[in-house]
């Protein structure tokens, strides 16, 4: 009976299974132990595996992320949890200057088989310092692999794939998805391909992480107007599955990219540029981009909602692309 598992439980199951299967695997991060994880992902694991392997750290993001890199170099398979992407800003030196470069700088002598999990996204009124969606920064860096599970199945199966990978893998979990239920499937899954979550022929909607359920809801709504929308879940943000995007848009001739991150120089730009490069002569309209308003995420609920793409915004933007128009540049202000 696999229906009805939550994204959170799927993640926890994945960690637990990995720890049982391989004693080199351990979890390290702030409040992963007694507290049970900020988002309760590691709840109960301390009791089962003890404090060595469910290892609480002091508040020292650079220190424990770097220690994870070192432990990976030393033969372990650490799963480092950074509470949220907001705090990863304190650890970027280690991630970018060390984890992503070591293999290359050493001429291929060293692997860093490290998995970093962190939550991303807004939507909980946590305001500007707790609501970043900075996946795009990581997706820019050679030497990293970056994935964003948007389904319970990926929450369950991306972790073992990441642990099996000899290179550093960053898993972005969207904090809004933890209570979502769904089927875990049978696994395994890969870390490189995009998935068509819904087939369609009039427009390709590209989304990732927390935007996938919204894109699907928007597609349902548009279907009632007789429009056939294909929804692609990027799954892997680095590498991007450019050929999946190409295949889809060559059929639909139109695309809209939806991104919870800010618009300028973000993920949506790369997806739009990539589709345009590969499908230029197939496109009936410019690729649309719908991203978060270019503002630090405000606390007030109505302002926060207005800042982030909502289902209605996606519907409106899709209609715009279908009409051949350009999705308005800059933040969309919602009615």
């Amino acid at each position: 009976m696999r229906e009805g598992t939550t994204y959170r439980e799927a993640m926890r199951l994945a960690i637990r299974e990995a720890m049982i299967a391989d004693e080199r695997v351990f979890v390290m991060g702030e409040d992963v132990a007694d507290y049970g994880g900020t988002y309760a992902v590691t709840m109960g694991l301390l009791e089962e595996f003890g404090p060595e392997r469910i290892r609480n750290t002091p508040l020292s993001e650079s220190g424990f992320v770097g220690a994870g890199i070192g432990a990976a170099l030393g033969g372990m398979r650490p799963i480092v949890e950074i509470m949220t992407v907001n705090f990863s800003l304190l650890a970027l030196d280690q991630i970018v200057n060390t984890a992503s470069t070591l293999r290359h700088m050493s001429g291929g002598q060293f692997s860093v088989p490290l998995v970093i999990r962190m939550t991303t996204g807004a939507g909980r009124q946590l305001a500007a310092q707790h609501s970043h969606s900075l996946e795009c920064w990581f997706a820019h860096v050679p030497g990293l692999k970056v994935v964003a599970p948007a389904t319970v199945e990926d929450a369950r199966w991306m972790l073992p794939a990441a642990l099996a990978d000899p290179d550093p893998v960053i898993i972005f979990e969207h904090s809004g998805l933890y209570p979502m239920t769904g089927s875990m499937g049978e696994g395994p899954v890969d870390l490189v391909s995009a998935a068509v979550r819904r087939a369609g022929s009039d427009l390709t909607l590209v989304a990732s992480a927390g935007m996938v359920p919204k894109a699907l809801a928007a597609a349902d709504q548009l279907e009632m107007e007789g429009l056939s929308i294909e929804v692609i879940d990027l799954r892997s943000l680095r590498p991007l599955d450019r050929s999946a995007l190409q295949r889809s848009v060559e059929r639909t001739h139109r695309a809209l990219v939806v991104d919870e991150g800010w618009r300028s120089v973000g993920l949506s730009a790369e997806v739009a540029a990539s589709i345009t490069e590969s499908c230029f002569y197939h496109l009936d309209a410019p690729v649309g981009r719908l991203a978060s308003a270019e503002v630090p995420i405000p606390y007030a609920k109505h302002l926060e909602e207005a800042a982030i793409p909502q289902v209605d915004d996606i519907v409106a933007a899709a209609r715009m692309v279908l009409g051949g128009g350009m999705v308005r540049d800059g933040g969309i202000v919602h009615a």
Binding site: Y35, L126, A127, V333
Partner: protein, 321 residues
């Protein structure tokens, strides 16, 4: 400077009443996001903040309602902020973790643990370079912040440059669910701080008199050009870390033991014994605090939300036309 001990008691009561109401309002979904209560720790803000001058600068953490209140930010504008209203002290953009008040040199409300420590150094540097004499920057932080690199870098800069900073560590023994002993190889925090070559003292943070006395000494030294001082106040939070915290990491008895040391009860008793206040005075304080908070709630309820048209305001200085 001598503190008015009655005022200190009153301060504690105001914070307590304000925050207990916040907890209720959270239950009613009037307040959202993260809400971190200071209940149990009131003695610290109550005894230190009255000793700061309006020219001094102040920085706190995300657990800063009490500090804002005692710094003089009107309860109504704090409450409106937590309701997400346009009249809130941060225009509804900040919420509980980001209370600000430029007119009172209150620089927030910061939700990155340790993130405000470098700002304190910079503010003190500005005061020093601009020859604003006797001005102090007071920066409050939890003991959890001391493991962060930003603590290390900031306290070194302040000590190296002899800047007028009061580093006030509110050591409530836990950083979320992580106990001090599982966070610091050196749990004597004043000793740890003293290694940077600045005066570092520990006081009982449940005792407002002790806090006030140490603060007075520290401020005199800092205002006199003696450079930064580190003050550890040992305290305890009676509530979970935030409204999301299941509070699984500490024994209920430990919480109970500390609650026996409730700083408000203890200080009210002491002042009563000493004849500084009597039961009527104390009751009147509670009543006034309740009034203040109820007025704040009414004000916050009545206040307007910001127009969505102004979503993009305050990103850069140029306001959209």
């Amino acid at each position: 400077m001598t503190v008015d001990r009655r005022q200190v008691l009153d301060n504690m009561i105001r914070i307590r009443v304000f925050e207990e109401r916040c907890a209720e309002l959270y239950g009613q979904s009037k307040i959202r996001g993260f809400l971190h209560l200071y209940i149990g720790e009131e003695a610290i803000a109550a005894a230190i903040l009255p000793q700061l001058r309006s020219t001094d600068a102040f920085l706190g953490t995300y657990r800063e309602h009490g500090h804002a209140l005692i710094r003089g930010v009107p309860a109504g504008s704090i409450m409106a902020e937590m309701f997400g209203k346009a009249t809130g002290c941060s225009g509804g953009r900040g919420g509980s973790m980001h209370l600000f008040d430029a007119s009172r040199r209150f620089y927030g409300g910061n939700a990155i643990v340790g993130g405000h420590l470098p700002l304190a150094v910079g503010l003190a540097l500005a005061d020093t370079m601009a020859n604003r004499s006797e001005v102090v920057t007071a920066c409050f932080f939890g003991e959890g912040a001391m493991a962060e690199g930003e603590f290390h870098e900031s306290i070194n800069l302040a000590a190296l440059w002899n800047l007028p900073v009061l580093f006030c560590c509110e050591n409530n023994r836990y950083a979320m669910g992580t106990s001090l002993a599982s966070s610091e190889s050196q749990t004597d925090l004043a000793l740890k701080a003293s290694a940077y070559g600045l005066p570092a003292w520990t006081v009982d943070g449940m005792d407002p008199d002790a806090v006030a006395a140490a603060t007075a000494k520290a401020l005199t030294s800092i205002r006199g050009g003696g450079g930064p001082v580190f003050l550890e106040c040992k305290t305890y939070r009676f509530r979970p870390h935030s409204m999301f915290d299941p509070d699984l990491y500490r024994p209920a008895e430990e919480v109970e033991e500390w609650k026996q040391r409730d700083p408000i009860t203890a200080f009210a008793e002491r002042l009563t014994l000493e004849g500084v206040v009597d039961a009527d005075v104390v009751d009147a304080m509670w009543d006034a605090a309740r009034d203040e908070v109820e007025r704040a709630v009414v004000e916050a309820e009545a206040a307007p939300f910001e127009s969505i048209d102004r979503l993009l305001d305050h990103v850069t200085t140029q306001v959209r036309s």
